[in-house]
Every structure is written in C-alpha cells, then in structure tokens.
C-alpha cells in the first residue's frame, strides 16, 4: 500500500483571520486509497496538531447520495471524474507531486459561510415553494393502486436522482439553478401524483428561483457535464415547456 503521495493544496480560506484568500498547504503522506474528503481530514488533523484552524468543508453520507459535499476542484464541481460527488473521488486519480486548487461553489445565491462551506438554503426555499404533492391522510393506499407506465416512471426516477448538491449552479457561467429546478419539476410533472399542483408548482418554483437571485439559463450545458447524478438538460426543456404553458394557458390570472 503506497502511503507516500505528496501533494500541494491551494485552498480558499474565508472567515476568522482569513479575508478570503488562497492558502497553500503541503501534505506528505497521502494514501491513494483515501477518498478526497479523507485526504482533507488528514490535512485538518495536521492543522489541529499544529494548533491552526482546520479547513471547514461540508460532508455527510460520504457515499454520494446525500448531496452535502461540494467543492470546486481544479475548476470542476465535485472534481474531474464524471458522474461522481467529491466524496466518491479517490486520491488514486492524482499523481505524486501534484498541485490541487480547491474552491467553494461560487454564486450570489450561495454565499460563503466559511472556507469551503456555502449556504445552499436557497435550494430549500425553491423546494418549499412547490416541490411537494398533497395527499389525503388515512390508510396508506396499495402500492400499485395507480398504474404508471414503465418508461414514464423511469424518466421521473432519473429526474428524482437529483441530490440537490448545487454543482449545476457552481458549474454554470450564469449561476443558474435551472437544472436543479427542472429536475424537481420534472420528477413530479411526470407522475400522476404530481398532476394536482402541476401548474401552480412550476409557476411558484420558477418565481422562487428568480427571487433567490440565480442566473438565467443560456443552454451552455456545463451543468449536465458536471452533475454527479448526470441529470439531463432535457429536463430544462421540459421546465421551459411547463412554465410557458402554465404562464400563458393556465387560468391563473394574477
């Protein structure tokens, strides 16, 4: 087991004594089997041992399903590998002696809280504005009571795979949240359970998205390329379609 990879890390530090600047750290004993976050854990242990402030970064499940980890690594959200989150990135993809630049997700709607941690509560407010279905209380109904065509269910599931990490916003030159919002709108618009609030949902989620200060989609598709769940920009076309139809053809007049 090789335990001798040496790395130079240029990490964005913000908060405390740091005004918002890159600080360079040297790490001498990186193991190729470590995940990227474990490598940062090793750095933080080293910083704590030296009585320095550890680097703040977000993490939770460390298996690519919770959407908590973030980071822009060498200019790419969640690092260089396709369809993976930062926690699924391993140090075997790096070479001895490499320099890695680590930045937070940057967008007006994702303000930096500290170092690499950003406030993504704007996503929560988009979900709260319409990302739900109303169901009657009482006995849970039979699982197969509402038949759904296989392909339709598959497409809804592909959209529902979005973990809301915000990599789409981080990668977009316009800091647009269209891939995220479109995934959430698509996932419910494709299912019979989502039909009741279908028009209201798209109008309110887009209104909230705009209110949060996210940018306007110009179809660059960098979001799709960086998305750890490989959500398709086809969802953005569906969101446009749903929004244009709900705005121009729904009975809502205010």
């Amino acid at each position: 087991m090789s335990n001798n990879m040496r790395l130079t890390l240029k990490i964005w530090r913000q908060g405390g004594k740091y005004k918002g600047e890159f600080v360079t750290y040297k790490l001498d004993n990186v193991n190729e089997h470590m995940s990227f976050l474990e490598m940062l854990d090793v750095l933080n242990e080293q910083l704590i041992a030296n009585r320095e402030e550890p680097v703040a970064f977000e993490h939770d499940c460390r298996e690519g399903i919770c959407g908590t980890c973030s980071l822009v690594i060498d200019g790419r959200a969640h690092g260089p590998m396709k369809g993976t989150t930062t926690c699924q990135l391993h140090m075997r993809h790096y070479k001895d002696g490499e320099t890695i630049v680590i930045e937070p997700f940057r967008a007006k709607a994702f303000p930096v809280i500290r170092d690499l941690v950003v406030d993504r509560s704007s996503f929560d407010r988009i979900i709260q504005s319409g990302g739900y279905v109303n169901v009657n209380t009482g006995q849970a109904q039979d699982a197969n009571a509402i038949p759904i065509e296989k392909d339709q269910a598959g497409e809804a599931f592909d959209a529902a795979a979005c973990i809301g990490c915000g990599a789409c916003v981080a990668a977009c030159p316009n800091a647009s949240a269209m891939l995220f919002t479109s995934a959430k709108v698509s996932h419910l618009a494709l299912l019979p359970q989502g039909m009741v609030e279908r028009k209201k949902r798209v109008l309110e989620m887009v209104a909230q998205m705009d209110k949060e200060g996210f940018g306007k989609c110009s179809n660059v598709t960098a979001c799709e390329a960086e998305c750890p769940k490989e959500i398709s920009v086809g969802n953005i076309a569906r969101l446009n379609r749903e929004y244009i139809a709900a705005s121009l053809a729904s009975e809502t007049t205010n």
């Binding site: 940018g215 989609c217 110009s218 446009n240 705005s247």
Partner: protein, 256 residues
C-alpha cells in the same frame, strides 16, 4: 405592477372576509410577470432569434442575385422590390424592432447573469470545447451588432436616403436606384472583404449555439426530433454564413 405570491394570498384572504370587494385581474399582471421571469426573458431571446434566422435566409436569397454576371440587373431589380413592396416594408420595420429587442434583451440577460455569478470568480475555470460559442454569445452578439450598424450605414442608408444614380433594369419599365455599383466597389476593397468574412465567422459561432438553443428555450425537445434539430442547426450555422461570405470573395478574386 406585479403582484407577488404573498400579496395575492392576502388579497384572497381579504376577499373571503369581505365579499363586496372582488380581486381585480389585469392582463398586464400575469403577462408582464411572465416576460420579466427568467424563462420569459429567454422566451423573448428565442422568438426574436428565430425570426432573425428566418430573415437571414431571405437576405441571402437576395444577395445571391449578385452572383448573376449581369452587371447588377437582377440585384437592382431585387433591391427595388424590397424597398417598395408594402408587405416587405412592413416586415422590415418589424425586423428593425426585432434586432433592437434581441440586442437589448441579450445585454440585459448578460448583465443579470454577471450579477448572479457574484463578485468572487473562480481561480481555475474549466471550459469544454463545446461551450466556447455558448459562453460568448454576448461578445459575439456585440460584434454582430457593430457589423449590422456599419452594414446599414453603408448600404441601407445609401439605398433609402443616399443619391444613387438610376439605371434601367429588365424587370421594370422605369429606372431604379443602382445599389450594385457601391456594393461591387465595397467588395473590391481588401479590408472590407476581410471585415465581412470575419463577421460571417462570428455570426456562424453565434448561430452554432443559437439555433439549437432557441428550440431548447421554447421547450421544443423530443427524443425523435432533437438530434435532427442539432444537425440542421450546425448545417445552418456553417452554410448560411459561408454562402454570404462567398459573394464578396467571388467579387474580390474574379471581378476586381
């Protein structure tokens, strides 16, 4: 004025308490709300863009008359028709408005998007090769706008307000303005030809992204047709500007 979601909720609550007061619904409230929304602004870009792409085809058909080796007979007849047919004249005013709206809305979106990105920029930027046109639509658009201004001053203004000599053409029984002569003169100038060809390359990049993007913004994607739209878009973006650029090159190299 726009009514926010909260306002409309409180409006409804008030109305349920006092049924003599009815909520007032204005056409402008939902319509302006749509037009100023992120998707509404893109909708404007898309519709104006599609209209401009259709116009380019008509413009090209006219310009191709220059390739007839007839001393400008067909071209001058065409320019007379385009400046005197009432339907064409009406559409031309719509076209000027469309160019201005597309440019103004594009600049507005560009500024809003820069604000959304925020003050702090990435130290390392990763740009994929297929994103070069789409990330630079505003810059490409500004170059195209400058080209259009020069182009209109040089030919459109001369045709409308300039003192061009009259010539006889076979299509009409009266003399028409001779726009062919200043066009031929411009196309024999090396710097003008170079400027024209470079502008066509810029337009090609703008269309390369714009064609597919306009369909995507309208929500017109489909498993069966989107691959076709992308192929047609690339063909359009290459062939239309190339055909425009061929005309001054033919003039410069074979007729000067």
């Amino acid at each position: 004025m726009l009514i926010s979601a909260q306002d409309s909720v409180s409006l409804r609550t008030k109305c349920s308490r006092n049924i003599t007061k009815k909520p007032t619904h204005h056409f402008m409230s939902w319509f302006t709300k749509f037009l100023v929304s992120s998707i509404g602004q893109k909708f404007i870009m898309s519709l104006t863009g599609i209209f401009l792409m259709l116009f380019l085809i008509v413009h090209l058909l006219g310009n191709l008359q220059l390739l007839n080796d007839d001393g400008g007979d067909a071209f001058n007849a065409y320019t007379y028709f385009m400046t005197h047919n009432p339907l064409i004249k009406t559409i031309s005013y719509l076209l000027y408005a469309t160019i201005l709206l597309h440019a103004w809305q594009g600049i507005a979106l560009w500024q809003q998007n820069k604000a959304s990105r925020g003050a702090s920029r990435y130290a390392v930027n990763h740009v994929r090769s297929n994103e070069r046109a789409s990330r630079n639509m505003a810059w490409l658009g500004i170059v195209i706008f400058i080209f259009i201004l020069l182009h209109m001053w040089q030919f459109w203004f001369q045709m409308k307000f300039g003192t061009l000599p009259a010539v006889e053409v076979t299509a009409y029984d009266h003399p028409v303005k001779d726009l062919f002569t200043p066009v031929a003169a411009a196309f024999s100038n090396m710097f003008y030809v170079l400027f024209y060809v470079v502008s066509m390359v810029v337009i090609a990049f703008h269309l390369w992204h714009g064609f597919w993007s306009s369909f995507q913004t309208l929500g017109l994607n489909h498993k069966k047709y989107t691959p076709l739209i992308k192929i047609v878009g690339v063909a359009y973006a290459v062939l239309i500007p190339a055909a425009f650029a061929v005309i001054p090159l033919v003039f410069y190299f074979t007729r000067a």
